[in-house]
Amino acid sequence: MQKLVVVALNSLLAAGLYATMSYGLAVIYGVMRIINLAHAGLMMLAAYATYALNDRFGLDPFLSLVIVAPAFFLIGVALYATLIRWLARSSAGPSMQSLLLLFGVWLVLQNLAYAIWGGDTQSILTPYTMQSLEVLGGRFGVPQILVFGVSILSLVGLNLVLRRTYLGKAIRAVTQNRDAAMLSGVNAGQIAAVAFGIGTAFAAMAGSMLSTLYAFTPDFGRSFLLKAFCIIVLGGMESFTGVAVGALVLAFIENFASAYTSIPVSYQDAISFTLLVVVLVAAPGGLPGLWRMLDRRALAR
């Protein structure tokens, strides 16, 4: 029982970060129907930016979010204005062209990090990196708890923006039906630019926070990209709640699998790949799709 509670709490802590990491992908997919493969590169670059701010100016990784997130918002808008804008829009679904273009961006970002920081493994050490707190009989690292707190704050903030402001309503409108939104006077191009900025800023926040938990190299981010993609597929690709639920599901499966089965740690990443393929094949609509299907069956009876 004790172990169960601790594993559940660990999953919850991981889920917060997972949700932040995935939301960036989901908002870009929702508004533009683009799968942002550069997401991994942006997370990696943000980790290095945090590292540089910490190394040069001694700035705390969590405080550096105040600089990193807005800076990456601007980077995202610039990426949209220079590259993404020129892509053909397809209503049918994400195009191969956009996927490969952003793949190219990811490669360029990786090389940028190699050129500036080299290929060595880097990590950020703070006074609290090794500290832990005791909660409900389990010991949890202070960075994990801080990451969870910041993730929840950012997600609540984002949810408020999406629900209460014109910008947020416009983003949701374009996600639901682009043509109808444009007919109602929403400037879809502008919204897309802002959405790409928000997505990039969330990638950056996730990257900064990951840098307090893991060591990183310019190759960093590939397995997290796959996790994020798995989460948004689980969550049904576009809904805010879906992402949160998907993050919880993946985090619980990963943590329970490593606590209660003998799967070696090095294979842990394989869980998300497997889950991704299984979900894409068995329930392409993710959990919401599955839910609707069950609902319809219940109604039919």
Binding site: L87, A88, M96, Y114, R222, Y267, S272, L280
Partner: protein
């Protein structure tokens, strides 16, 4: 001469093939090594193009097949097999693996398939590094006395020519048309009676077999393999980039891409400054091609000779034409 009129590049191709076959008679060893590498790339790019170019199913996990071919050859050669006999076994295992991977992932469409293949490639690399009999991350060596460059050169060039002939043949065949139909509109293809899953599985299996044989020859030529060399993401990347930059879904495109990339690689290895910026070059090429000419070098050529008009934003025009 109807054959030549129908295939304007055929004489050039035959000349090129004759040059490759006869090169050992006059070219120095250094050049032959470069040509070997180019032939290796031609096989990988053209085989990938069968599924990725013609059928539009972009897979980022092809290094798995190079790895399967290479590991099969090394393991069987160490068990006393003659290297030549190991190649078909490697191809057979690769075919089995391609079907095992394809059955679930081919139910996914477009970019979803691509993302799933990143996962598959990653999983294979992790597992190969962890297994006991593959020598883990330190890799395996071929037994002594299996190295014979001249035989290997002819085998690789032969494989490249067979691959090209096979792709050219399939392109004319109903099978090639089915692949093309799947790329353009998979639902319409299904409605016209194309069994899309079976066709994709077949294309995947053919290209997997070719790539695995190339991987086996790779192992014999370099005498040493490790997960870092044959299961590398960078190799998967090169396999994908060559046909894309050359021109997806064409016979000549992957060959042009392979020539460009093997040349680039020679240049990159020669200069440390370039070696550190290969991802800039690869990523930059990908961005430029996707923004300006999704049909790559072949598309550029078609426009230069006036087969297609110049447009300011050709990417958009291309998409409209297809949709």
């Amino acid at each position: 001469m109807g054959l030549f009129r129908r295939h304007p590049v055929l004489p050039l191709g035959l000349l090129f093939a004759a040059g490759l076959v006869l090169a050992p008679l006059f070219a120095p060893r250094g050049t032959l090594n470069d040509l070997w590498n180019m032939a290796f790339y031609v096989v990988l790019a053209s085989a990938w193009n069968l599924l990725g170019g013609f059928a539009g199913q972009v897979s980022l996990g092809y290094s798995a097949f190079v790895g399967i071919g290479a590991y099969t050859t090394v393991l069987l050669a160490n068990a006393g097999w003659s290297p030549a006999l190991t190649l078909p076994v490697g191809a057979a295992i690769a075919v089995a693996f391609s079907v095992a991977v394809g059955l679930p992932t081919f139910r996914l469409r477009g970019p979803y398939f691509t993302i799933a293949t990143i996962g598959v490639g990653e999983a294979v690399r992790v597992i190969a590094s962890g297994l006991e009999f593959t020598g883990g991350s330190s890799g395996l060596r071929m037994p002594a006395g299996t190295f014979d460059f001249s035989t290997n050169y002819h085998a690789m060039v032969g494989l490249a020519l067979v691959t090209l002939a096979l792709v050219a043949g399939l392109q004319q065949h109903a099978f090639g048309l089915s692949l093309e139909a799947i790329r353009q509109d998979i639902d319409a293809a299904e409605a016209l009676g194309v069994n899309s899953t079976r066709t994709k599985l077949q294309a995947h299996a053919i290209s997997a077999a070719l790539v695995a044989i190339a991987g086996g020859l790779f192992a014999t030529n370099f005498q040493y393999i490790s997960p870092g060399s044959v299961f590398d993401f960078r190799l998967s990347l090169t396999i994908v980039l060559m046909p894309i930059v050359g021109g997806m879904g064409t016979l000549v495109g992957p060959v042009l891409g392979a020539m460009l990339f093997s040349y680039l690689q020679i240049k990159l290895l020669a200069s440390p400054a370039l070696r550190d910026s290969y991802l800039f070059i690869y990523g930059g090429l990908l961005i430029v091609v996707m923004l300006f000419e999704p049909k790559g070098m072949v598309g550029l050529w078609e426009r230069l000779v006036g087969l297609r008009p110049w447009r300011r934003t050709p990417a958009v025009a291309e998409a409209r034409r297809v949709s």
